[in-house]
C-alpha cells in the first residue's frame, strides 16, 4: 500500500484527530496529515500541494463542505484526490449534492475505523488505480 497524504476538514479539532486515528487504526499508511477547520482553509491547501485523499465534514462555519466540493470542482487542479464526506447530516439531498460536485461517498458520524477504511481507502484505491 502506498503512503497517503490526507487532508481532514472539520471545524472540530477533536473530530479531526479522531478521523486521523481511525485512518491509522484502519491500517492506512499516512505519510502526511493536513488539517483544515473549514472549506475555505481546505481550498487553500488543495491549491498549494498534493493531497491523495480528502475527508470533509459538511456542516462547518465560514465555508461548508458542500461549497468546498463545489468550488474545488471548478478549480483547475493537476491531480484530483477523492473526497469522502464525513457528516452527522443524513440528509439525502446533501449527499446527492456532494456527489454531484465530485465527492465519492460519505460516512455518517458516529463512525468506526472499519467504516473509515471501507469508504476512505476504497475510494482512494479506486482513484489511484484509475490514475495509474
Amino acid at each position: 500500500m502506498d503512503k497517503i497524504r490526507a487532508l481532514i476538514v472539520d471545524d472540530s479539532s477533536v473530530l479531526r484527530k479522531i478521523v486521523e486515528r481511525s485512518l491509522r487504526q484502519a491500517g492506512i499508511d499516512l505519510v502526511q496529515v493536513m488539517e483544515a477547520g473549514n472549506g475555505a482553509e481546505a481550498l487553500g491547501i488543495v491549491k498549494e500541494g498534493t493531497v491523495d485523499l480528502i475527508l470533509c465534514d459538511i456542516n462547518m462555519p465560514v465555508m461548508d463542505g458542500l461549497e468546498f466540493v463545489k468550488q474545488r470542482q471548478a478549480m483547475d487542479l493537476p491531480k484530483r484526490a477523492p473526497v469522502v464526506m464525513i457528516t452527522t447530516e443524513g440528509s439525502e439531498s446533501h449527499v446527492v449534492q456532494a456527489l454531484s460536485f465530485g465527492a465519492k461517498g460519505y460516512i455518517r458520524k458516529p463512525f468506526t475505523p472499519d467504516q473509515v477504511k471501507e469508504h476512505g481507502f476504497s475510494f482512494w484505491s479506486d482513484n489511484h488505480e484509475a490514475s495509474d
Binding site: 472540530s12 477533536v14 484527530k17 456542516n59 462555519p61 447530516e89 443524513g90 439525502e92 458520524k109
Partner: protein
C-alpha cells in the same frame, strides 16, 4: 416506527425518548468506546457546569442540549483524544460540542423521513451553570439522564414545533 411528520402532528414526542437514548448510547459506544448507564436513584446529580447546544431547524425545530460537569467534559474529551484527562483541558469545548452534534444528528436520522427535512446548527458551548434555560416556543421537552463512568449526564431536546 411512525413517520416523524405523523408524530409531530400528534405531538407524540414522548415516543422519541427511546430513540434519543439509543442515539446517545451509540455515539458514546462508537466514538468513546464507553457505555452510558441509566442513572440510579442513589447517584447525586451535581449542577451542570458545561452546556452544549445544537439547534434543529426545518420540519422539527428545537434545541438539543447536553449538560454535565467540567470534570465529565474533560473525561469525554480525554476519551475521544486518547489522552489523560489533564491533557484534555484545551479541547473540552470542542469535544462536548462534537458529541452533542452527533447525538442530535444520530437522533434525527432515526426519525423516519426527517433526516432530509431538518438541519442542524453548529454547536454552541456555555460554561458555568448559573443560568436559566427558557424557550419562548416550547412544545415539550424530552430528557434523559444517564451516567458515564459514574458521572451524570443530562441530554434534552426542547421541541419548539
Amino acid at each position: 416506527m411512525k413517520p416523524a411528520t405523523e408524530l409531530l402532528a400528534g405531538q407524540g414526542h414522548e415516543t422519541w425518548l427511546p430513540l434519543l437514548q439509543r442515539a446517545a448510547e451509540e455515539v458514546f459506544e462508537i466514538m468513546l468506546g464507553a457505555k452510558l448507564e441509566p442513572l440510579s436513584e442513589a447517584t447525586s446529580v451535581p449542577a451542570s457546569e458545561i452546556t452544549s447546544m445544537v439547534g434543529l431547524a426545518g420540519q422539527l425545530c428545537g434545541v438539543m442540549t447536553l449538560r454535565c460537569s467540567a470534570d465529565m467534559a474533560k473525561l469525554i474529551a480525554a476519551k475521544m483524544l486518547g489522552v489523560a484527562p489533564d491533557q484534555a483541558n484545551q479541547q473540552l469545548w470542542d469535544a462536548i460540542g462534537g458529541i452533542c452534534n452527533m447525538v442530535a444528528g444520530n437522533f434525527k436520522n432515526k426519525l423516519t423521513g426527517l433526516s432530509d427535512k431538518c438541519m442542524l446548527s453548529v454547536p454552541t458551548v456555555i460554561t458555568r451553570g448559573d443560568y436559566t434555560f427558557q424557550s419562548l416556543a416550547d412544545a415539550g421537552t424530552l430528557e434523559i439522564m444517564m451516567t458515564f463512568e459514574n458521572n451524570p449526564i443530562r441530554i434534552a431536546l426542547e421541541v419548539h414545533s
